[in-house]
């Protein structure tokens, strides 16, 4: 090779914001050969996406390349006019975005959209472009491509939309493909299919790929070389195996330690924050409950139909004892969130019974349940911390809210004291209590959400994908926190998640759901080590692990 396909030399990108100039990328140097796959890994705010956007010159107007060069095929593209850049997009380099549904035009058929992408760079009659679009849909393995050609994005699933995006991106055979978190928001099984497809197509067509991701396991599985970014700087570059076995930079070490693996336990995830919290004391053997005690929560043949459609949940039965933790896993649409909301009594079941401590609570209508004495016993932590806090409440107000409503406390010193205590238990510094949610980081918002849920001393805590929106290092801390709180208060936990590693570490038992029904349940470690059904096996195998190493891209189906 005479020269690399792409070389970044000391790249700096600066954004002008209300607080002045912010340097998002500070001196990144890397190169990429033809046909190579490179993983660009980092947490939010590390500048990995900005680097990707800078390479394609798609930075938004506030961002500017202030120094350095981006040399693509021997030409410095930082100096190109926007007209010349257009020629570059698609034809020489293409980008795949994070949210495929948002990246497709909702009112135009996908066949037309692919044809548009083709015709943007090559002169050809419409008929021929549509024929090529059909070939591309076949190449990305969309079933019934002839029929799908005229489908609209909303008629396709998220995974299908991402395949269409891939088809568009490769339509002009670019030399470089940049995939920015291409599978975030997709189920693990869909993620595997999409990533296998992506690496297969890239290998087949000899395209170089940059995979931007926060998921170390994903990068390890699909990339030959991985670079790690932190705060706009490149901190380490190595082959995945070497990087994850023997990380050299302290940041990489922390990142690797925080990533759950197939065998790690909660305690193995190194705490990231400095305020060395005492992490789990050995679980004292729980005193056996006298026989005949009803389980804390007993659910029998629960079912839910929305508007006379197909059942979202059917025949769901389970029980949780005091202090027990149960995981509920399944792909999106499996009914796990609906189930958790029925148990939390936020929505009404269509059929079945829910009893808490032997008392039936399923027949109290959800709109009356806020008056029930059990309201404070069953609490929930929501998925996205960014969306689960009222934008007009300070952190203090958020935590005080259930205390005022459910524990009958009044504004005053006692309330302030109790809120401070809750904040301390979740490791939220007291000086952050006066802040509004948008002034807090994702991890801090997650802590506020947890503090709110434990404020009234619940006995059953429902965790709805509590870490799905968090970086791995933050996730590690939050999981340890939840585990510690559970042990301290003898809390029963129902953890709803699509992340099998998290469920395996956190839960004694696991229930696997598919299309509203339970397909398998059992003791977590046994269930994941030796799944009994094909569906569970598929789920388990789709989880990318750090140690699994890169797959041969040609081996993909």
């Amino acid at each position: 090779m005479s020269q690399p396909l792409l070389a970044l030399r000391d790249l700096h990108v600066t954004f002008s914001t209300r607080r002045g100039l912010v340097e998002a990328v500070r001196g990144v140097t890397l190169c990429l050969d033809e046909g190579e796959t490179l993983g660009l890994v980092g947490e939010s705010g590390s500048g990995k996406s900005v680097t990707g956007f800078a390479i394609t010159r798609l930075l938004d107007t506030a961002g500017r390349i202030t120094a350095g060069q981006i040399v693509f095929r021997g030409q410095d593209i930082t100096k190109l006019s926007s007209g010349d850049c257009r020629g570059l997009h698609g034809a020489a380099m293409a980008m795949i975005f994070q949210n495929p549904r948002a990246a497709l035009n909702p009112i135009r058929g996908i066949g037309d959209q692919i044809a548009d992408a083709i015709q943007a760079h090559r002169r050809m009659p419409r008929e021929q472009a549509r024929a090529e679009a059909l070939d591309l849909l076949r190449a990305v393995q969309i079933r019934d491509p002839e029929k799908r050609l005229s489908a609209y994005p909303h008629e396709l699933s998220g995974g299908m939309c991402q395949r269409v995006m891939i088809a568009m991106a490769v339509s002009c055979n670019p030399a470089l493909l940049i995939a920015d978190e291409p599978t975030t928001g997709l189920d693990v099984t869909t993620q595997k299919v999409v990533m296998d497809l992506l690496s297969g197509i890239a290998a087949e067509r000899g395209m170089a790929t940059i995979l931007i991701t926060h998921d170390l396991g994903l990068a390890a599985r699909y990339c030959r070389r991985v670079v790690v970014m932190e705060q706009g700087r490149l901190v380490e570059e190595a082959e995945p195996k070497q990087l994850f076995r023997a990380p050299r930079h302290p940041y990489t070490r922390r990142l690797v330690a925080a990533s759950p693996t197939a065998t790690s336990r909660i305690a193995d995830l190194a705490a990231d924050d400095g305020d060395a919290q005492v992490i789990p004391m050995p679980a004292a053997p729980r005193p056996p409950r006298p026989p005949g005690t009803p389980p804390l929560l007993d659910v029998l043949k629960l079912g839910k139909r929305f508007d006379a459609g197909a059942a979202a949940v059917a025949e769901f039965s389970m029980s949780i004892g005091a202090g027990e933790s149960v995981g509920l896993v399944g792909e999106s649409g499996s009914g796990k969130s609906t189930t958790s909301r029925m148990i939390c009594r936020l929505i009404d079941p269509s059929e079945g019974e829910i009893s808490f401590e032997g008392q039936s609570i399923g027949d109290i209508p959800a709109r009356e349940f806020h008056r029930s004495a059990f309201r404070k016993d069953i609490q929930i932590v929501f998925q996205d911390p960014n969306e689960s806090l009222n934008p007009r409440f300070t952190a203090f107000d958020c935590i005080a809210h259930p205390l005022l409503r459910l524990s009958g406390m009044r504004a005053g010193d006692a309330l302030g004291h109790r809120v401070g205590e809750c904040a301390q238990r979740v490791g939220l510094p007291a000086d952050l209590l006066s802040r509004f949610p948008h002034q807090l980081s994702g991890g801090q918002k997650a802590r506020v959400g947890i503090a709110r849920a434990i404020a009234c001393g619940p006995r059953l805590l429902i965790l709805d994908e509590p870490t799905a929106a968090l970086d791995v290092s933050v996730q590690a801390v939050v999981l340890q926190l939840l585990d510690r709180l559970r042990r301290e208060d003898d809390l029963a936990v129902l953890l709803v998640s699509h992340d099998l590693n998290v469920v395996r570490m956190m839960c004694d038992r696991t229930i696997v759901m598919r299309t509203g029904r339970i397909v398998e349940q059992g003791e977590s470690r046994a269930l994941f080590a030796n799944p009994q059904t094909d569906y569970t096996r598929e789920l388990v195998e789709a989880v990318p692990h750090i140690e699994s190493g890169p797959v041969a891209s040609s081996a993909s189906a």
Binding site: S388, N390, P391, R392, F436
Partner: protein, 282 residues
């Protein structure tokens, strides 16, 4: 907290100085509306036929009208009435519209559809004609002008609140509020409404200008405030008869007062939103 709010307001004003100008204008207008009647040089009602139709001068800043009344004094005194009509009409339509719209947006279903169709029907009428008909039917009184103006504004508030609440009703913090023991009603009133307030403030500000124009329009066609009460719309209507004889100040001065007032409210809109929304602070 207040100092942070002030600092934030200062930042918004620096970025958009017109907001400051508009705010100053409205502050001035409010001052005039409250204290104007004690400060004016002449009685706005008493006629002085000896000095009728005099052009602006040092003694009569905006001239006198056909009955010799001081136009400037009448302008100043009229501010209170015009502003009162606009503020109470917009207040009523906001209070009703926000609550109805928020409840519809949150619950959806049959209630939402029924209210939606009612709003559609209301909006199918030419709104000014509807207001005319209402005032004509109910009687030519100030309360009725306020009610009519409030009713023709109502559909906009209902639709606006409905749309804003609808996009937020499935967010985590709404469910969280319910898990914390709030009833549906309390979620709507204490959580959702405060969150749509900043956006509705823009609508209110724009609407205040429009309500003043509407009241003046009703007076202009004889369906509003009755003479001799000073009111900008009537003053324009009465002055219009004299415009062909070159007595321009009778129309121009109240017209200018109307225009500047409406302009101030319109300019204020966006600034108010930015100041009220905590998310705009960093």
């Amino acid at each position: 907290m207040t100092s942070a709010t002030l600092r934030h307001a200062g930042w918004i004003l620096r970025g958009n100085p017109l907001t400051g100008v508009a705010a100053a204008g409205i502050f001035f207008l409010t001052f005039v509306a409250i204290f104007g009647s004690w400060l004016v040089p002449y009685d706005p009602i008493v006629s002085d036929v000896a000095h009728s139709l005099m052009p602006p001068s040092a003694a009569h800043l905006a001239g006198t009208d056909q009955l010799g009344r001081d136009v400037f004094s009448r302008l100043v005194v009229a501010a209170r009435l015009d502003l009162a009509i606009a503020v109470s009409a917009v207040g009523i339509s906001f209070a009703l519209g926000a609550v109805i719209g928020a409840v519809c947006g949150y619950t959806g279903g049959r209630l939402d559809r029924a209210v939606g169709r009612f709003v559609d029907v209301l909006m199918a009428f030419p709104l000014f004609v509807l207001a005319m008909a209402m005032v004509a039917a109910l009687g030519n009184r100030i309360e009725n002008i306020i009610i009519a103006t409030a009713i023709i504004n109502l559909p906009f508030y209902i639709r606006f609140a409905r749309a804003e609440v609808n996009v937020r009703r499935n967010l985590g913090w709404v469910e969280a509020a319910r898990a914390c023991g709030d009833s549906h009603l309390s979620v709507v009133l204490r959580f959702l409404l405060p969150n749509v307030m900043p956006a509705m403030a823009v609508q209110m500000s724009l609407n205040l200008g429009w309500a003043i124009l509407n009241a003046a329009g009703l007076s202009f066609i004889g369906l509003g405030v009755k003479p001799p009460t000073p009111e900008w719309g009537i003053m324009v209507a009465e002055g219009a008869r004299f415009i062909s004889t070159g007595k321009w100040w009778l129309v121009a001065c109240p017209g200018l007062a109307l225009m500047l007032t409406v302009l101030c409210f319109n300019l204020l809109g966006d600034g108010v939103r930015d100041i009220l929304d905590p998310r705009m602070r960093t």
